[in-house]
Amino acid sequence: MTTPQTTLTRPVDDATLRKAFSVRERPARPSALSASLALAWRALLKIKHVPFQLFDVTMFPIMMTVMFTFLFGGAIAGSVGEYVQFLIPGILVMTVSMISMYTALGINTDISKGIFDRFRSLPFWRPAVLVGALLGDSVRYTLASFVVITLGLILGFRPGGGIMGVALALVILLLFAFSLSWIWTLIGLLMKTPESVMMVSSMASFPLTFASNVFVDPTTMPSWLQAVVSVNPITLAASAVRGLMHGTVTSGDIAGVLIACAVLVGVFAPLTMYVYRNKNAH
């Protein structure tokens, strides 16, 4: 590459530049949907450019499924084959919940990089930044679910609810992950560094996933723990997903997960938006 020695002048000719500076007309403000879609597009482009970030949504579920199936299968359910029937829907919920933590990381990184200031200075529907990120993440959830179910089928998982049941379970799962993500977006906004985001999110997610019915039936637990487990949103999600996949779902299961989603969104979405609007403003 050769650099001219003396001509340290303009980047391009004046006329092109001046023409580029003559757009004063402002299009109509984008709708909430198109702003969200533009930001979801951004999330998908990132996956396209750095496919390695899909490593966690493929390897993590494989690791979890294989490990827990063979580790606990014999002890808990008597046989691996039987335990898989119980575990796979639970592992799905757990995996997707864990992956949803990365939403927090992404938002925190955006804030520290300055792109956040750009977004805040543009006059579009404010929640679109978060909604767009969550929409983009649903691709990751879907992929992770696909990996878990495929692996489950190989290990002997036979969902009694058939394809329809599995499909409905996935819809519920996506809805749940979307609702749960609002907790992480709040953490992502509140924490100062990506490291602290990871720490706080892990602290929150471990009790959430283990104190649930993902791995074991809670009937053997002490009653105080059963009380905790029964209102844990992960439990409610796992029951519904399990029921749908095996065709044994009750309306109570569905109502439970829908209420959990409504509460999560109802509490954490307004909190997140409040923090988002006031971030650095005072």
């Binding site: 340290l8 092109t16 299009p27 984008p30 702003a35 300055g114 200075s121 006059p123 650095n280 403003a281």
Partner: protein
């Protein structure tokens, strides 16, 4: 149209972060279509002022109006007419340059095809065509900065805030940014630029406000500021630094003013009110057998203005507070 002719009006703006008072009553006026350089060392309060004007931060007290709109009460009206290019380029590292511009255009309300057309136009105008499909994280500092400015002017703003637009850039990239700013001014945009570089203010601004520790310490045209310091400055550089004490004496006698010893051990300077004596200074020095490698009479630099105003050179000031807040 606002009632006044000013694009930006700031009155007694104050802001504290915790116990640190960052702005202690800033007053500013920027004429429509003008470029004001807000000059000051790290921690002087430049970024805080700009962030308040761009509605990203709220002041504790005082008022700020941009194009006649109050930045707190009418933040949305302000946001529609201004653009900010921050100290840290607000572009997405993990997207290509083209994708960055398309995304921002979409968020401004452009349709997909219009967004693409406008992005392409800007990519070409800013000399980024070759790199348009590369990820921004592989861009050089100058390219990032140009992309950042391009993203800020997708809709040409009436007021553009440029927060240290050339910090960390090489001289060539710096000149490219200056050219972009000049063209933007010619197109009628008002610019408020913050900088630590005195040369940059000298190159671009028609008005300069110097702030230090949260207060305005000088406000005027470049000419006014320079005149306030003295009509001119003699710069002398000696062949041998050992001659400096002798040279200092000769200069002081001949010019009749105090001589300033530069940090360069072979250099001296003096502000003169009577330029006629300058020539005799040179001959007196050579009569005394002192070899001179450099001898010049010029307008005082902004560095000297800063020194005269604060008693400290611009670069040596300690950073008072974290600027990014």
């Amino acid at each position: 149209m606002p009632p006044t002719g000013y694009a930006i009006e700031v009155n007694d703006l104050r802001k504290s972060f915790g116990k640190v008072e960052v702005l202690k009553g800033i007053n500013l006026r920027v004429e429509r279509g003008g470029l004001l350089a807000l000059l000051g060392p790290n921690g002087a309060g430049k970024t805080t002022t700009v962030r308040i004007l761009a509605t990203l931060l709220q002041p504790d007290s005082g008022t700020a109006k941009v194009l006649g709109h109050d930045v707190v009460r009418e933040a949305d009206s302000v946001r529609r007419r201004v653009s900010l290019t921050g100290q840290f380029a607000s572009v997405d590292d993990e997207l290509t340059g083209m994708e960055n511009l398309i995304m921002v255009a979409r968020l401004l309300g452009y349709s997909w095809s219009d967004a693409k057309t406008r992005a392409t136009e800007l990519i070409n105008a800013f000399d980024l065509a070759e790199a348009s499909n590369r990820l921004v994280k592989n861009y050089s500092g100058g390219m990032r900065r140009r992309l950042d400015i391009a993203a800020s002017i997708i809709i040409t703003p009436d007021v553009l805030f440029l927060d240290e637009p050339t910090s960390g850039l090489d001289p060539r990239s710096r000149r490219q940014v200056w050219d972009i700013v000049r063209t933007l001014l010619a197109a009628g945009t008002t610019v408020l630029l913050t900088t630590q570089y005195l040369e940059e203010a000298d190159q671009l601004a028609n008005r300069i406000v110097i702030i230090d520790h949260g207060t305005v310490i000088a406000d005027g045209t470049i000419g006014e500021l320079k005149t306030s310091v003295g009509s001119g400055t003699v710069h002398v550089r000696l062949y041998d630094p050992k001659d400096r004490p002798a040279a200092e004496q000769i200069m002081a006698q001949t010019l009749g003013v105090a001589v300033h010893l530069e940090s360069d051990p072979a250099a001296l300077s003096a502000q003169v009110s009577n330029p006629e004596r300058v020539a005799s200074t040179l001959s007196n020095l050579s009569q005394a057998g002192i070899s001179v490698t450099d001898f010049s009479l010029g307008q005082p630099s902004l560095d000297e203005v800063f020194l005269a105003l604060t008693g400290q050179p611009a670069e040596d000031q300690p950073a008072a507070t974290e600027e990014y807040a």
